[in-house]
């Protein structure tokens, strides 16, 4: 019979809590960088010249069909072998997750851009806005409202994906679980607590996002 002993888990709870915060932080930063990449890729795909269109499509399709872990290994182990040792493990992971997120966000933004009515753009052009101004003041704000629910879902996925960072010893939540497990061998307790923490965080984020969606929802 398995004897439960919660002591070791709660004695090391700060490790898990710090890990959780780091995970959410990494997901946020990656979402931000990924949004910039994704926005650029989406505009290239919709409005870009032919070679740009192709490049953006190739990036999106390639990254979406390759495991995140492989991208992490490429950035963390591959780049230094090629003479590029710029990042520590946490920033390597942020870079990998941003590139990964960018491909998903490109599709989210593309759907958003395509949902913006032609009439809106023509009206903006007619009052004398330049193309850049149209993008900044019309397409992007409208697109964000359409994209908000998918953006939220992507954020939750990214947060869950931060668990893979434990593969290169980034001290996030899953790595905290591994460390406590190695030191104390309280397997069941650790993973029950960690699973609950992920679950609670996911639902808390989802609840916050629903509120944001409600505030910024598209009026029909």
């Amino acid at each position: 019979m398995y004897q439960f002993n919660w002591r070791p888990v709660f004695d090391n709870f700060d490790l898990l809590l710090k890990g959780l915060v780091l995970g959410i932080g990494i997901a946020l930063v990656s979402l931000a960088i990924g949004s910039i990449i994704g926005l650029a890729a989406a505009f290239c795909r919709v409005h870009g010249a032919r070679p740009l269109k192709f490049l953006a499509a190739a990036y999106v399709e390639l990254v979406r069909n390759v495991p995140l872990l492989l991208i992490i290994y490429f950035v963390y182990f591959g780049l230094p072998l090629l003479g590029l040792s710029l990042f520590d493990n946490t920033w390597s992971f942020v870079l990998a997750l941003s590139v990964y997120a960018g491909a998903y966000l490109a599709e989210v933004f593309r759907a958003g851009i395509e949902a913006v009515g032609k009439g809106q753009i023509e009206a903006a052009r007619a009052i004398g806005l330049t193309r850049l101004q149209v993008a900044r003041h019309v397409t992007i704000p409208l697109m964000f409202r359409v994209a908000l629910p998918s953006l939220g879902n992507t954020f939750i996925s990214l947060f869950k994906d931060t668990s893979v960072a434990s593969a290169i010893a980034v001290p996030e939540l899953t790595y905290g679980a591994i460390r406590i497990n190695v030191n104390t061998w309280r397997v069941i307790e650790v993973y029950l607590v960690v699973g609950l923490m992920y679950l609670a965080a996911c639902y808390a984020i989802a609840a916050l996002l629903r509120q944001a969606e409600h505030r910024y929802r598209v009026m029909h």
Partner: protein, 210 residues
């Protein structure tokens, strides 16, 4: 390069094997779970709902670690590969259950009423009326899930299963040829998933004509 080919080929085979097992087991769990959500009594619905919502809120890697390290602690010996397959199947099942539930729920109520009017039994209704229509709506989402599962299968390398990712990692460690071998792995994953997506799209077109 050539001396590494057998290792990579074996890794690819393991990736295929793990993914196929997960998709098979996950789909069985998912169809059962989906039907439970739709037609089960209140207790069954609650249990399945709890399973689906829990599994979808926990990272796959945590599930894999929990089973791989957790099962031996309660006296169940599992190999790394079985632990990985089990964990990913549970995750896959939760997603498929939600897909099946959504697809069946989106079929107009009139279809069921008409089938009832014809005097079809519950099983006949499912088999001849609901399922043929639901499949068209399940397929695109199922293919997306399948792609996700093939990608997630790389996580089993973190409990030391020598799949494609692990094989390439070992080869890079030995040869220091990062660009070449990571590109090979990426190309193999890409081909696998892209083919699957294409096949899915073709099937979808065929079903929707029927």
């Amino acid at each position: 390069m050539l001396s590494s080919a057998p290792l990579i080929a074996r890794g690819l085979l393991i990736t295929l094997l793990v993914s196929a097992c997960v998709l098979l087991l996950g789909s069985v769990i998912g169809v059962g779970g989906g039907l439970g959500l739709l037609y089960g009594g209140r207790p069954l619905r609650l249990v399945v709902r709890f399973y689906v919502d829990t599994l979808r809120g926990i990272p796959q890697l945590v599930l894999i670690f929990a089973i791989f390290y957790g099962f031996p602690a309660i006296g169940l010996q599992v190999s790394a590969m079985i632990a990985g397959i089990l964990a990913l199947s549970l995750f896959c099942g939760a997603h498929v259950a939600e897909i099946v539930r959504g697809a069946v729920a989106s079929i107009p109520r009139g279809q069921t009423d008409a089938a009832l009017g014809l005097g079809l039994s519950f099983r006949q209704r499912l088999r001849h009326v609901i399922f043929p229509q639901a499949v068209v709506r399940i397929l695109p989402a199922w293919v997306n899930t399948a792609v996700e599962i093939i990608k997630s299968s790389s996580l089993v390398s973190l409990v030391s299963v020598v799949d494609l990712t692990m094989a390439v990692q070992q080869v890079v460690g030995r040869t220091r040829e990062a660009l070449l071998f990571y590109a090979v792995a990426a190309a193999l994953y890409f081909l696998l998933n892209f083919t699957l997506s294409m096949a899915g799209r073709r099937l979808e077109r065929r079903f929707s004509h029927a």
